[in-house]
């Protein structure tokens, strides 16, 4: 089994990353803060004023380690990639399918089944664990609406427009119940609707940040297996938009990002003090909170689960990679459909 490798998150302002032999080292103000052998690292994420030597970038490209640059607040800026990996035949097949509306809809349907099933699992789990602390009827009702949405996906040759409609109402149902899942400090942590440009409350701020982190992992996984993250089946082409990465991310949103945000709030691992509201209304996290979120995400990725399709134990951190792989195997014709990851 492929080994799960850590992501190196660097948020120390003014830090400088360089290559030293087979190691990545982090320096700041003339001091070396730490060093890690490259073979133990799966990716590097730099926040704000963090720079990398060109030799380190080349070294990472050679070893399939992606580097992302984000603002101090977690907004994506750029990434460094080596030469396009994998092969042109796979990407051509990806493009052919993406050009074919019906073929695209088939894959989009799989991704939606994954997303809605995992959204429902999140709701069901909350009812099971905290029925005494939340409005169980409201959450149950939303979960039934998701069951109804899944029913609408029964038809294998579903049209793309129908999918959009189903996703829309499923998303409304899921997010309508989301506020009920927040069990702590409801004065500062509440959810009314999803807003992201910029996030206007603490929960949306956390969600946006987590989606960016998951996105980094999904994009890297797609590139590693040789797929083009920009060309999606559900998310149609739009310049600058990583369509396939967004497709693949759908099934991970509830399981990886949303659930972690809820855990952080409900277990008081983040508190209202860790957020700042700017004059414009945009909400930002403090450094300490961001670190707490990243640490929790890294811990989460170490958890092991049984993959429902592969029926094999793998770490949560490897899920993106596995799913990218299964997508490639489907496009190559080894699998009759794309099997999304679902929570059992």
């Amino acid at each position: 089994m492929k080994k799960y490798l850590n992501t190196l998150y660097v948020s120390t302002q003014g830090a400088y990353l360089a290559k030293e032999g087979e190691r990545v080292i982090v320096r700041s103000e003339g001091k070396t803060l730490g060093g890690w052998p490259i073979h133990t690292i799966g990716g590097i994420v730099c926040f704000g004023q963090v720079s990398c030597s060109p030799f380190l970038m080349g070294f990472c490209a050679e070893r399939d380690v992606s580097i992302s640059f984000l603002t101090e607040y977690g907004k994506f800026l750029a990434r460094v990639e080596g030469p396009v990996s994998g092969n042109v035949l796979l990407r051509r097949e990806q493009y052919r399918r993406a050009d074919d509306k019906e073929a695209s809809a088939k894959i989009a349907r799989s991704a939606m089944i994954g997303k809605i099933s995992n959204s429902r699992a999140a709701l069901r789990r909350a009812v099971r664990d905290h029925s005494d602390k939340l409005d169980a009827d409201a959450v149950r009702e939303a979960s039934q609406r998701l069951t109804h949405s899944l029913k609408q996906l029964r038809h294998e040759d579903i049209a793309a427009d129908t999918l959009l409609g189903v996703e829309g109402s499923a998303s409304v149902a899921y997010f309508s119940a989301f506020d009920h899942l927040i069990l702590n400090d409801k004065k500062h942590f509440f959810f009314e609707n999803r807003n992201r440009r910029p996030p206007l409350d603490n929960v949306n701020c956390l969600l946006s940040f987590m989606y960016t982190m998951v996105m980094h992992d999904v994009r890297s996984a797609l590139e590693t297996v040789g797929l083009d993250p920009a060309v999606g089946f559900y998310h149609r082409d739009r310049p600058g938009r990583p369509g396939l990465a967004l497709d693949l991310m759908e099934e991970f949103r509830p399981f990886l990002a949303d659930r972690l945000v809820l855990t952080l709030v409900n277990r008081k691992q983040v508190t209202a003090k860790g957020f700042k509201k700017s004059k414009s209304g945009a909400v930002r996290m403090s450094d300490k909170t961001r670190k707490a979120v990243l640490t929790a995400y890294m811990e989460r990725k170490k958890d092991e689960i049984i993959h429902p399709f592969l029926e094999e134990k793998i770490s949560v951190g490897l899920l993106c990679h596995m799913q990218a792989h299964l997508m490639a195997r489907h496009l190559r014709g080894d699998l009759d459909a794309y099997p999304p990851f679902v929570v059992r």
Partner: protein
Amino acid sequence: MYTESDLLPLSGLQHILFCKRQCALIHIEQAWAENLFTAEGRIMHEKVHSESHETRKGVRTEFSVPLRSFRLGLIGVADVVEFEKNSVTPIEYKRGRSKKESWDRVQLCAQAMCLEEMLDTDITEGALFYGKTRRRQNIVFDEALRRETEETARRFHELVGTRQTPPPEYTARCESCSFVDACMPRKIKNRSATAYLKGILSS
């Protein structure tokens, strides 16, 4: 006869003899996966390839000799070739031990056939050097081995020409294969993702 643009890596012969799917993963899908065995092999070859040539007792030894054959349609590099007054001898370094399968012999024979074509000469013998046993095994390029080598090169070209990766077949060999994660032999074979999706929808 092949042309320069048709040439495939000589190393592919071993891959197709080992497993058609592994060969397709490497040469069609351009996947590369390293495990302990391949890493050991790589490090060993880095050592072999560190010098360019030396001459001792009338034997000129060249390292990392570029090879190609338009007849076989192959291009590659020989670890070592010994040039003497009346003979040319390719030598290939292997990390493991001598195997009963013909994989290594076919690779060496293909190297010899490349050299024959490039130098317009006849090569009757070569050698395999095994790292585990530190033994040198002489190989005679007889008719049977040459036929097998030609046949293997032909099958290799045919497979790459189809641009299709054959379905997996799980065997005991899979456990030592560095591509087991990319190939998913047990996980994909006879698995229906359509049935899996149905299962999710009815739960």
